[in-house]
């Protein structure tokens, strides 16, 4: 069965590109455009991995990540944080609160796909 990926970003064009990219690799995709929706989708969709934007309305990516990690039910969920703010402190902060990987925008599609695959063990 295909791995499920939840894409969380408030930029419609980024969502379009990510969705297209991941679908092409054969993953099952769901989309959320703000933090609250993301939490709801995690519960309903049950993704294996999520691509989580940091700067979002309602709840930031950090807050979403923290909320998810606080719940042991989500222990198996892999979180890849995406951010346009490339500062080291933000990377460190993301990893510290439980993100599994941190990718800076703009990213290389190849690298992102490779990273997602390796994390899901489908190399």
């Amino acid at each position: 069965m295909a791995h499920k990926i939840l894409i969380v970003d408030d930029e419609p064009n980024i969502v379009i590109s990510l969705e297209f990219l991941m679908k092409k690799e054969g993953f099952e995709i769901a989309v959320a455009t703000d933090g609250e929706e993301a939490l709801a989708k995690v519960a309903s969709f049950g993704p294996d991995l999520m691509l989580l934007d940091v700067m979002m309305p309602k709840k930031s990516g950090f807050e979403v990540c923290e909320a998810l990690r606080a719940d042991p039910a989500n222990a198996g969920l892999q979180i890849v944080m995406l951010t346009a703010k490339g500062r080291d402190t933000e990377v460190a902060k993301g990893l510290a609160i439980g993100a599994d990987a941190y990718v800076t925008k703009p990213f290389s599609t190849k690298e992102l796909v490779a990273k997602v695959k390796s994390m899901l063990g489908v190399a």
Binding site: D10, E11, I16, S17, D34, P57, K85, G86, R87, P106
Partner: protein
């Protein structure tokens, strides 16, 4: 019943009690347990109230009414000038001043001439006052003896002479009992305080007896007095005598500190400066109490002895005797005796110190025989004893010569006027550094001469001692020189007249001569130290302005000679232990020791003589005037420096605080810049992310479907546009903020700007189906602005509006209005509106309204901040009025040019 011998016995017993009190006071002082408390000090000041108060006030009240009070108002006012008296005390302590003559001499360069002059004036001036005490005792004795055997004394001995003799013996026992002749006499002060209590009680007793025992109380007395036209006059203030009142207040105010005995008690005998605080109210209270019954006694006497011959000065005795109250009369006599003896003792001790130190010593120091003598302390005591005797003898002679011519008060005032002559030299010396010895000598001589001519000699003339031609017709028959109407100044009473001329001439000479003479080094140094006493620590500066060599042996033998070996060694021991040396024989003979020796000698023989003695054993280098002033000035400069330093460090502290604030602000700015860059980065990376991802996919997958291809390329194009717009606006913002934007200011008709903007965006509105309406006035004043920039603002507001309203139902209305001061443009929409919070937030950079994906606005978040910058550049305002659900109304104003700018 009142026999002469009984009275004599009683008096002697009373004096014995006084003596015991004094012995007790001295013993306690020697044991280091001084009994001089603030209360004792305050009471001892009441030595001011002599028999003159005790007997004379009543006498004066019978003729002058309330004017007797002036003599007590002056001291009260003077004591209120605590600062002046405190300064006097401090100076005296630091310089070991022994008398008022010593004070003045020390200030003006330790001048023997000045010390002698002041002593002569004091002796001549105060002798009448002593005579007055003798007269009072003699008069009171006569009243008592009139009742019994008047002839108990042998024919060759008159009672006043006997009293003078007794007082001399008593004073000698009292004040010169000590072999060591230091400046302080604690036993005497204690006895004087005791006497003050006795005389107050006696006076209050007779006051109460007369007021309530002989009459029906105060109101009865005053009613009876008011009924008689002659007595009623006494109860009223006589405005015609206002000048006299002023002169009396001034005179008595000066007397309270300048009479030798007052200076002795207030300044020299003061053991603790804080005692003065108590005296400031306690002494005036004492004066009030002792004056309460003066007027009732005067009225009572006048009423009782109406139609009989009487002497008003002895009412306090004659009234009780008239009622047979002999015990009370005796008490009153003792009270009067207290008043008189207190005054005589302190006054003669003060005067004898002055005579000894300032008249006899200088003369003795020059004689060669004197140099051989080993221990002079006994000689000093001897001189003082002789001086006491001579002074009392002089008083007796004056009493015999002139005593009958004046009432008690009249005699006292002559003395007051004499010591008032010290005022210019004293006050000038304490507060005016330019005052010089020559000025002080000239002032004192001038004032004293005028006093002599206008007051003392006329009192002799009145006694028939000398012809009174100079009073009646003027000296040599010149009318201008009439002794009591000098230069035609008549209409004043003799005291006011004398005071006016003597003080005028005294002060005038003091100032004029001082300004025209130059002090020598010693004098300039003393002037500096007296005037700035609270700033100079005496020891430090004194030793610095002395240079020379002295031998230890000579200094010690000097001290031994004047203090006696025992006391000299004792004082040396104290001095040595203060300096951390166990044995005084090992002390170095340096400037400190010389200064110590001089201070010790000054306490015994006065500063002027002490200076001469020390100079005789030490080889002193002369230090020039300039150098002395420099050294003294240095102390002032050090203080100035430290003040400067303090100010500097304060400044530094302020600067540090300021720097810290600036640093904080810089850090904040840095953080803001950081945040700004971070935000800009984010805003730039976001479109770039889509562009990169989509182009990579297009690049790598040639088999992509055409529809996807088109869609992706479309997104790439629009994101590129967004990126371009963003970069342009960031640059624009940066230019505006840094002030490097270019402005082309000209006269602009805002209507044109609005019309053009609406036209250029017309297509956009039509596409979305939003209604755009405008409301423009017929005429509109021109504003000074950059037309393109205003258009930019207008287009920004319009495109924001169209972005936020919904299609089809959306409406945007533009309205332009103008008043005298500004043009106002409103862009109102019927969109979702803004919360109060959002109304401010939207003007911040990169902050946009709306918060969900669906209505995520297309925009950079820089439009409104840029617009606001532009409007504010023209001096206008840009703001929004809105509520959620009620649409938003963006308003901006552009001010009209002022009248001058129009021209």
């Amino acid at each position: 019943m009142l026999s002469g011998w009984f009275i004599l016995l009683l008096s002697t017993a009373y004096l014995a009690i006084l003596f015991a009190v004094a012995r007790f006071g001295d013993a306690r002082a020697d044991a280091g347990k001084s009994i001089i408390s603030a209360n004792v000090y305050a009471l001892s000041l009441a030595v001011y109230c002599t028999s003159w108060t005790f007997y004379g006030s009543v006498g004066r009240a019978t003729s002058g009414g309330l004017s007797f009070l002036t003599i007590y108002i002056g001291p009260t006012l003077m004591l209120l000038m605590t600062g002046v008296i405190l300064k006097m005390i401090r100076i005296s302590k630091v310089h070991r001043i022994t008398s008022i003559a010593d004070f003045i001499a020390s200030r003006y360069g330790k001048s023997q001439l000045l010390a002698g002059l002041v002593t002569v004036i004091a002796v001549i001036g105060v002798v009448p006052y002593i005579a007055l005490q003798l007269k009072a005792i003699s008069a009171s004795l006569n009243v008592l003896l009139l009742e019994s055997d008047a002839d108990f004394l042998p024919w060759w001995l008159d009672s006043t002479f006997l009293i003078a003799g007794l007082l001399a013996v008593f004073t000698i026992l009292f004040g010169t009992r000590h072999l060591d002749a230091t400046e302080r006499h604690e036993g005497m002060v204690a006895a004087v305080a005791f006497e003050s209590v006795v005389k107050l009680l006696a006076f209050l007793a007779v006051g109460l007896f007369v007021t309530y025992g002989m009459f029906g109380g105060l109101s009865d007395l005053f009613q009876r007095a008011a009924a008689s036209p002659e007595l009623g006059r006494l109860l009223q203030l006589d405005s015609a005598r206002a000048g006299t009142w002023t002169a009396m207040i001034l005179l008595s105010g000066l007397a309270i500190i300048f009479l030798p005995r007052q200076f002795q008690i207030i300044v020299v005998e003061n053991v603790n400066e804080s005692h003065l605080k108590r005296a400031v109210w306690l002494f005036p209270l004492y004066l009030l109490l002792i004056n309460i019954f003066v007027l009732p006694l005067a009225l009572g006497g006048l009423l009782h002895f109406q139609g009989q011959p009487f002497n008003a000065d002895t009412f306090v005795l004659t009234l009780p005797l008239a009622r047979g109250a002999e015990a009370l009369a005796l008490l009153v006599f003792i009270g009067g005796l207290s008043a008189a003896t207190g005054m005589v003792i302190v006054e003669t001790i003060a005067l004898s110190t002055m005579v000894c130190n300032d008249l006899v010593m200088p003369w003795l120091l020059r004689s060669s025989r004197f140099g051989a003598s080993k221990d002079l302390s006994k000689l000093l005591i001897g001189i003082r004893r002789v001086a006491i005797t001579l002074i009392l003898l002089l008083g007796y002679i004056y009493f015999r010569a002139a005593g009958e011519a004046y009432a008690l008060v009249g005699i006292g005032l002559i003395s007051f006027a004499a010591v008032a002559q010290f005022a210019p030299a004293m006050f000038g010396g304490m507060y005016w550094k330019q005052g010089t010895r020559a000025g002080a000598v000239a002032g004192l001589l001038g004032g004293f001469a005028v006093w002599l001519y206008t007051l003392l000699l006329p009192s002799f003339a009145r006694s028939g001692w000398i012809g009174n031609g100079f009073v009646e017709h003027g000296l040599f028959g010149i009318a201008e020189l009439k002794a009591q109407a000098l230069f035609g100044l008549s209409g004043l009473d003799e005291i006011s007249h004398s005071l006016w001329w003597s003080l005028l001439i005294n002060l005038g000479l003091y100032i004029v001569v001082s300004l025209n003479s130059r002090p020598d080094a010693v004098e300039a140094g003393q002037a500096e130290r007296f005037v700035d006493i609270f700033r100079h620590s005496a020891q430090e500066t004194d030793t610095r302005i002395w240079r020379g060599h002295a031998s230890m042996g000579e200094l010690v033998s000097l001290l031994e000679r004047f203090l006696g070996p025992a006391r000299a060694h004792q004082q040396l021991g104290i001095f040595a232990s203060e300096r951390g040396t166990a044995d005084w024989r090992k002390l170095p003979a340096d400037a400190d020791l010389v200064h110590f020796a001089e201070a010790q000698l000054a306490g015994a023989i006065g500063s002027a003589s002490a200076r001469v003695m020390v100079a005789s054993v030490a080889q002193e280098e002369e230090i020039g005037l300039e150098e002395v002033l420099d050294i003294l000035d240095e102390a002032t400069q050090v203080r100035a420096y430290s003040r400067e330093l303090e100010a500097k460090s304060q400044e530094l502290e302020t600067a540090t605080t300021e720097l810290r604030a600036v640093n904080e602000r810089l850090r904040e700015l840095d953080k803001m810049k950081d945040d700004f860059i971070s935000t800009v980065t984010h805003e730039l990376r976001t479109p770039l992310t889509s562009i990169r991802a989509l182009s990579e996919m297009l690049h790598e997958d040639p088999k992509l479907e055409l529809s996807d291809r088109k869609r992706f390329l479309g997104i790439i194009v629009s994101e590129t546009e967004r990126l371009t717009r963003l970069i342009n606006q960031i640059l624009d913002m940066a230019k505006l903020e840094s002030g490097r934007a270019e402005w082309t200011t000209s006269e602009v008709d805002v209507r044109d700007v609005v019309r053009e903007s609406m036209d250029s965006l017309g297509q956009l509105f039509r596409e979305k189906g939003v209604t755009l309406t405008g409301e423009l006035p017929e005429t509109c004043p021109l504003v000074m602005a950059d037309r393109d920039r205003l258009t930019q603002v207008m287009i920004n507001l319009l495109s924001n509006a169209v972005k936020f309203v919904s299609g089809e139902t959306g409406k945007v209305h533009v309205r332009l209005s103008a008043d005298d001061e500004r043009v106002r443009i409103e862009v109102a929409d019927n969109g979702p509106g803004l919360t109060a919070d959002e109304c401010t937030v939207i003007f911040e950079k990169f902050r946009q309204g709306g918060n969900t994906m669906t209505d995520k606005p297309q925009g950079t978040g820089l439009g409104l901040p840029i617009s606001r910058q532009i409007v504010e550049y023209f001096g206008g305002n840009l703001w929004v009025e809105s509520e959620p659900g009620a649409g938003a109304n963006f308003i901006f104003t552009v001010p009209l040019p002022g009248p001058e700018e129009q021209q």
